[in-house]
Point group: C2
Chain length 205, copies 2
């Protein structure tokens, strides 16, 4: 609880710094392999003409995600958290010191693949997104109420596999709205770009 | 680090108690929605004639998994961890007090859906299993070396979707063996029972 309070203080400082530099920051959380990086890749492709974009990737190990995003001509920074199951405001504060914020309009932060830990550690972003995949089964929303409550947008990805998984997207959406009535729910196929225009509108970009 | 040490002490006590009662315990960890409960359901169907089976399910919220397993005529206990991203030896110690161990041969423990936290909190089981799904993408093994190192068996589930996901099962297997040369890797389709006889042999059941 003390760790959470201390983290919130640093998150506020991060937000002040981002606002001072007119940088819009988006925290993209979600289950392991739900499609976070693919979504960021496709958003970079669609938005890099309009905004100067940078990205921070968090994983316990490897720099794979930052490297994937760099291929799209976007500056990306990788944080390895070691054994921590979430990014925290302090790690972001450090990385923000390396980034030229005055030359940045939009910052995507990809959190560690985990539906539990990131809920308790806000980073100081303007928008919080959670990505789940239909391949995780029908109970993934109701099983994770804490992260659903703190999210602004829920992306239900890999809907191309909904039929093979026998998962009902309407039911997942209803589950989310029951837990968090103001959450926006967007079904996507990150691989093909389906749902991305709607996501961009929801992100007000 | 102190928490991890303290947990190991209690885990040892759990193991002593299980051994005293001739109960074989298996910790089933894995990503969110990777197929842990489905695998336990199918193992219960195949093994309940041969062994007296009990199950403990861990989730931050809901009793869905314990209820699913009960439908197979197996006694199941649900632990809700609240905000904790993993089961721990202390929670298991408590639950073991409720279980009639002398009337039990085999205990399945389904850990919270998470590929990071459970690696640091052993429960006192005889076998540690990790379940991943091909739907999590090609990097899931190399991204989670800590849990791969401490596991005895890696189950690669949902191989029916490997083609749709363009994921190479051989590559995932090689990744695992590079991190942990003694790990046994078993591809499965929990939904249909494919790979289950091989899993039963690997579990020495
Ligand atoms: N079928 C299908 N596959 C997808 C879709 N979106 C992403 N994938 C695949 O899912 C796998 C995981 O995608 P990533 O973007 O790496 O997922 P992630 O959430 O960033 O994963 P981590 O950062 O490792 O937790 C990859 O093989 C992607 O190609 C989709 O809409 N449909
Ligand atoms: N296509 C396919 N789907 C599967 C397979 N095994 C399980 N599923 C489905 O995957 C979803 C999740 O399965 P579960 O058994 O609930 O997974 P879990 O790991 O217990 O999930 P959590 O406990 O919530 O982390 C369900 O819709 C299952 O029917 C498989 O081999 N192939
Ligand atoms: Mg990623
Ligand atoms: Mg389960």
């Amino acid at each position: 609880a003390d760790l959470i309070k201390a983290n919130e203080k640093i998150a506020l400082l991060n937000k002040v710094l981002l606002d001072k530099n007119n940088v819009k920051a988006i925290d993209i959380m979600g289950a392991i392999g739900s499609g976070k990086t693919t979504l960021i890749e496709v958003l970079c492709e669609k938005l890099k003409e309009k905004y100067r974009i940078k990205m921070i990737a968090g994983d316990i190990s490897t720099d794979i995600d930052a490297e994937r995003v760099k291929k799209h001509g976007v500056t990306a920074y990788q944080i390895n958290t070691g054994r921590e199951c979430h990014l925290d405001a302090h790690l972001i504060q450090h990385t923000l010191e390396e980034i030229s914020l005055k030359d940045t309009d939009l910052l995507f932060i990809e959190n560690v693949g985990n539906l539990i830990c990131p809920a308790d550690f806000v980073l100081g972003t303007h928008i919080k997104v959670v990505v789940i995949s239909v391949t995780e089964g029908p109970y993934v929303v109701i099983k994770h109420p804490v992260i659903m409550k703190m999210a602004d947008i829920l992306i239900i990805n890999k809907i191309d596999l909904a039929e093979a998984m026998e998962v009902d997207i309407e039911k997942l959406t209803a589950d989310a709205k029951k837990i968090n009535p103001s959450i926006k729910v967007i079904p996507t196929i990150a691989k093909t770009g389906q749902g991305i225009p709607e996501l961009i509108r929801a992100l007000e970009l």
